[in-house]
C-alpha cells in the first residue's frame, strides 16, 4: 500500500479535527451545568468569518446605552473618539465632538491647583455614573452594576446572553423558588434571581432613524453595541484573517508542489 502525498498529510487533518472538536465541545461544558437554558441565540451580523457590525444597529445601540444603561453601568475602556473610528458606529467627528461636549468632566489641577469642570472632549472615556464601586453600591441597594466595556466577552453566550437577559424578565414559572425581596426573576440569569430590575421596555428609546422601538429591537441594538465595545477591532481582524488564510492556503499549495518536486527522485 503506497500512500499518496495527500494521505501522508492526514496528521494535520487529525490534529485540526481534534482541536476544533475540543474547542467547540468544551466551551459550554466549562460553564457550570452546561448550556444556559434561558439563552436565546440571535443571528448577529458580526457572526462568522466575514461578519461585520451593522452601523445603524450600533448607532441605535449607543442611544439605548446612553439613555438607559449608562445611568447605572460604567464603560471605562471606551472613549468618545472610538465612536468615530472605522469598524464601529462610525459617527462623524463633528457628531462625536458634540456628543462628548454634552458631558461635563472633571479635569485639573489648573495653575491654581484646583480641579475644574469642562465640557467633554473626544479623547475622554465615557463618564462613569458613580465615582467608585462603593458609591454605586450605596446608591443601588448594595448591588454593583458591572462595567460594560467587556461584558459581552465576559459572559458565556456573548451578545446573545445580553439580549436574553434584557428580554428574559418574565413572571416566575409555576413551582419556581420564591424570588427574594429586592431581586427579580430572569429566565436567562444563572440562578434566575437578578438584582437589576427590568431596564428596557417597549417604546422606551426613540430612535432617530424611525426604526420601531420594540423591546426586541432595543435589546438587539444595545447587545450589538456592547459586542462592538468589547471587540472594537473585529472587522479589522476578520478582514486581515481572510487575507492571511488566502496567503497560507496558496503558500501551502506551492510548498506541496515543492515537496513533490524535491522528493520525486526518492520514490
Amino acid at each position: 500500500m503506497k500512500m499518496t502525498m495527500i494521505q501522508k498529510l492526514a496528521p494535520f487533518a487529525a490534529v485540526a479535527a481534534l482541536t476544533l472538536g475540543v474547542a467547540f465541545s468544551s466551551a459550554p461544558a466549562q460553564a457550570e451545568g452546561g448550556e444556559n437554558p434561558g439563552l436565546k441565540h440571535v443571528a448577529w451580523s458580526f457572526d462568522g468569518p466575514f461578519g461585520t457590525y451593522d452601523r445603524s444597529e450600533l448607532r441605535r445601540g449607543y442611544k439605548v446605552y446612553k439613555e438607559v444603561c449608562s445611568t447605572c453601568h460604567s464603560m471605562n475602556l471606551v472613549h468618545f473618539r472610538n465612536l468615530s473610528e472605522k469598524g464601529g458606529p462610525e459617527f462623524s467627528e463633528a457628531e462625536v465632538k458634540a456628543l462628548a461636549a454634552g458631558y461635563q468632566v472633571q479635569d485639573g489641577p489648573n495653575e491654581q491647583g484646583e480641579m475644574f469642570e469642562r465640557p467633554g472632549k473626544q479623547s475622554d472615556p465615557f463618564p462613569a455614573p458613580y465615582p467608585n464601586e462603593e458609591a454605586a453600591r450605596a446608591a443601588l441597594g448594595g448591588a454593583y452594576p458591572p462595567d460594560m466595556s467587556l461584558l459581552v466577552k465576559a459572559r458565556e453566550g456573548g451578545a446573545s446572553y445580553i439580549y436574553s437577559i434584557l428580554t428574559g424578565y418574565t413572571t416566575p414559572p409555576a413551582g419556581a423558588e420564591a424570588v427574594p425581596a429586592g431581586l427579580h426573576y430572569n429566565a436567562a440569569f444563572p440562578g434566575n434571581h437578578i438584582a437589576m430590575p427590568q431596564p428596557l421596555n417597549e417604546g422606551q428609546v426613540d430612535y432617530d432613524d424611525g426604526t420601531p422601538n420594540t423591546l426586541d429591537q432595543e435589546a438587539k441594538d444595545v447587545s450589538a453595541f456592547l459586542a462592538w465595545a468589547s471587540e472594537p477591532k473585529l472587522e479589522q481582524r476578520h478582514r486581515l484573517g481572510f487575507q492571511v488564510m488566502v496567503f497560507l492556503i496558496v503558500l501551502s499549495g506551492l510548498l506541496y508542489t515543492v515537496v513533490r518536486k524535491v522528493w520525486s527522485d526518492q520514490h
Partner: protein, 423 residues
C-alpha cells in the same frame, strides 16, 4: 554537531572564517547535510513547528512586554490598551494567547509521536529527558503568562496553583508566602511572575539547543524504529526535510490563523475578560485546557498532599520512561499489543482532560437501582483514568516488553520502503 563534517569552504573568505569560528560549518552540518531517515512521516514535522511556535511566542511576547504594566491596578487596563489602542495590538495579543495553545497542541503531538514510535529508547534517553524538561518549562511559562492579564481566572488560577505548595507538611505555608512575596497574591506576585515569564522562554531556548544537539548526535528515530544503515536509508536534511517541514508549518499555521482571526477566545475562559476580584470566587475555577489532565489527577485524590504528589508524579514518570520500557523494539508498528494500549492511553489522557474541565460532582450515570444505587461522578471517572495513566507507564511498560511477541522487523529502512511499495 557530531560525526564527520562535509562542509567545504568555497573561497578564501569562508576559509578564513572557518579556521577561526566554524559557524557556517555548524549551520551546514546541522541544517543542510545532516542525514535524516528517508521514511519520516509528517508526524515528524512537529519538531520544526515547535521551534516556530517558540519563535512566535518570543517575538510577540517581547513586543507585548513593551506595552504591558505588571501592577495589579493597571495590568488589566494595560492589556485592554494593547487590544484597543496599540497598532495591531489585538493581533499581537491574540497570536500570543492562542500561540500558547498552539504550542501545547504541537508539543502533545510531538510527545505522543515519540511514545508511539519509541523515540525515547536508547540511545535517545537524554534527548527525551531534555524534551520532558522543555515541556515542564513550557507549563511553568504558560502558568506565569496566564496570570499576567489579571483577569478573574488569572487570579484564581494562581491562587489554586500556589496554594498547592501549602500542602507540603510543616514548611508548606511558608513556601506559599515566599512564592507570593506577601501574605496573599498581590503586586509582588504579579511582578515576579512577569519577570519569570520573560525569563523562562530563554531557558527553553537553551534546553532546545541541547535537545537539538542531542538529536544530531543520535540521529532521528523513524517510523520503523530501525536505525539507518548507511546513505541508502537517509537523505540530506536540506532540501528534503526542510521542504516537508515548511509544508508542515504552513498547514499548522492555517489552524493557528483560524483561532487567531476567527475564534480567538474559543480556547480561553470567559471569566478572564473580567478583572481579577479577590473578593469574588468564580463558580468554577479551571486551568487552561493543556493543564486539565493534571488538574483532573489532582482532584481525583481526596487528600490534598496526596493529590499534589500524584499530579507531580504524573509528569515525573515521563523522565524515567526510557528505563520503564523493556521492549527491544521501538516502533508500535511492530508491537501489536503496545499499539492498542497506546491508543487507549491517548483516550485516557483526553478523558482526564475532559474530567478536569467538569465540576467534580457532576453525575455521569447512575449505577444500580434508583433507591440504593450510587451516582457515578466525574471524580469516580477521574480516579479510574488516573489509575490507568500510572498503570500504563509503571506496570504495562515493563510488562509488555517481556510478554509481547513483536512482528518481524524490516532489514533496513530502504527495505521497508520498497516492501510497502510492492504490497
Amino acid at each position: 554537531m557530531s560525526g564527520h563534517s562535509t562542509y567545504k569552504p568555497s573561497n578564501g573568505f569562508t576559509k578564513w572564517i572557518d579556521s577561526r569560528l566554524p559557524i557556517v560549518r555548524l549551520v551546514h552540518d546541522a541544517g543542510v547535510s545532516y542525514p535524516t531517515p528517508k521514511n519520516l512521516n509528517y508526524w515528524w514535522t512537529f519538531g520544526g513547528i515547535l521551534t516556530l511556535c517558540l519563535g512566535i511566542q518570543i517575538i510577540t511576547g517581547i513586543v507585548l512586554a513593551m506595552h504591558y504594566i505588571p501592577q495589579t491596578d493597571l495590568a488589566f487596563a494595560s492589556v485592554e490598551h494593547i487590544m484597543r489602542d496599540v497598532n495591531y495590538g489585538w493581533l499581537l495579543r491574540y497570536v500570543h494567547a492562542n500561540g500558547a495553545s498552539m504550542f501545547f497542541i504541537a508539543v502533545y503531538v510531538h510527545m505522543f509521536r515519540g511514545l508511539y514510535y519509541g523515540s525515547y529508547k536508547a540511545p535517545r534517553e537524554i534527548l527525551w529527558i531534555l524534551g520532558v524538561l522543555i515541556y515542564v518549562l513550557m507549563m511553568a511559562s504558560a502558568f506565569f503568562g496566564y496570570v499576567l492579564p489579571w483577569g478573574q481566572m488569572s487570579f484564581w488560577g494562581a491562587t489554586v496553583i500556589t496554594n498547592l505548595f501549602s500542602a507540603i507538611p510543616v514548611v508548606g505555608q511558608s513556601i506559599s508566602t515566599w512564592l507570593w512575596g506577601g501574605y496573599a497574591i498581590g503586586d509582588p506576585t504579579l511582578n515576579r511572575f512577569f519577570s519569570l515569564h520573560y525569563l523562562f522562554p530563554f531557558l527553553i531556548v537553551g534546553v532546545v539547543v541541547l535537545h537539538i544537539w542531542a538529536l544530531h548526535v543520535t540521529g532521528q528515530n523513524n517510523p520503523t524504529g530501525v536505525e539507518p544503515k548507511g546513505d541508502k536509508d537517509t537523505v540530506p536534511f536540506t532540501p528534503y526535510a526542510t521542504a516537508k517541514d515548511a509544508l508542515g508549518m504552513s498547514l499548522f499555521l492555517i489552524l493557528f490563523a483560524y483561532f487567531v482571526f476567527f475564534n480567538p477566545l474559543g480556547l480561553g475562559d470567559v471569566a478572564n475578560s473580567e478583572i481579577a476580584n479577590p473578593l469574588k470566587t468564580p463558580p468554577h475555577i479551571v486551568p487552561e485546557w493543556y493543564l486539565l489532565p493534571f488538574y483532573a489527577i489532582l482532584r481525583a485524590v481526596p487528600d490534598k498532599l496526596g493529590g499534589v504528589l500524584l499530579m507531580f508524579s504524573a509528569i515525573a514518570v515521563l523522565f524515567v520512561l526510557p528505563w520503564l520500557d523493556t521492549s527491544k523494539v521501538r516502533s508500535a508498528r511492530f508491537r501489536p499489543i503496545y499499539k492498542q494500549f497506546f491508543w487507549l492511553h491517548l483516550i485516557v489522557c483526553i478523558g482526564l482532560g475532559w474530567c478536569g474541565a467538569q465540576t467534580p460532582d457532576l453525575v455521569i450515570t447512575h449505577v444500580g437501582s434508583a433507591e440504593s444505587g450510587i451516582n457515578f461522578t466525574v471524580t469516580h471517572l477521574a480516579r479510574i483514568l488516573s489509575f490507568y495513566y500510572f498503570f500504563h507507564f509503571i506496570i504495562l511498560f515493563p510488562l509488555l516488553g517481556l510478554i509481547e511477541k513483536p512482528k518481524p522487523l524490516p532489514e533496513s529502512i530502504s527495505a521497508s520502503v520498497l516492501g510497502t511499495a510492492k504490497s
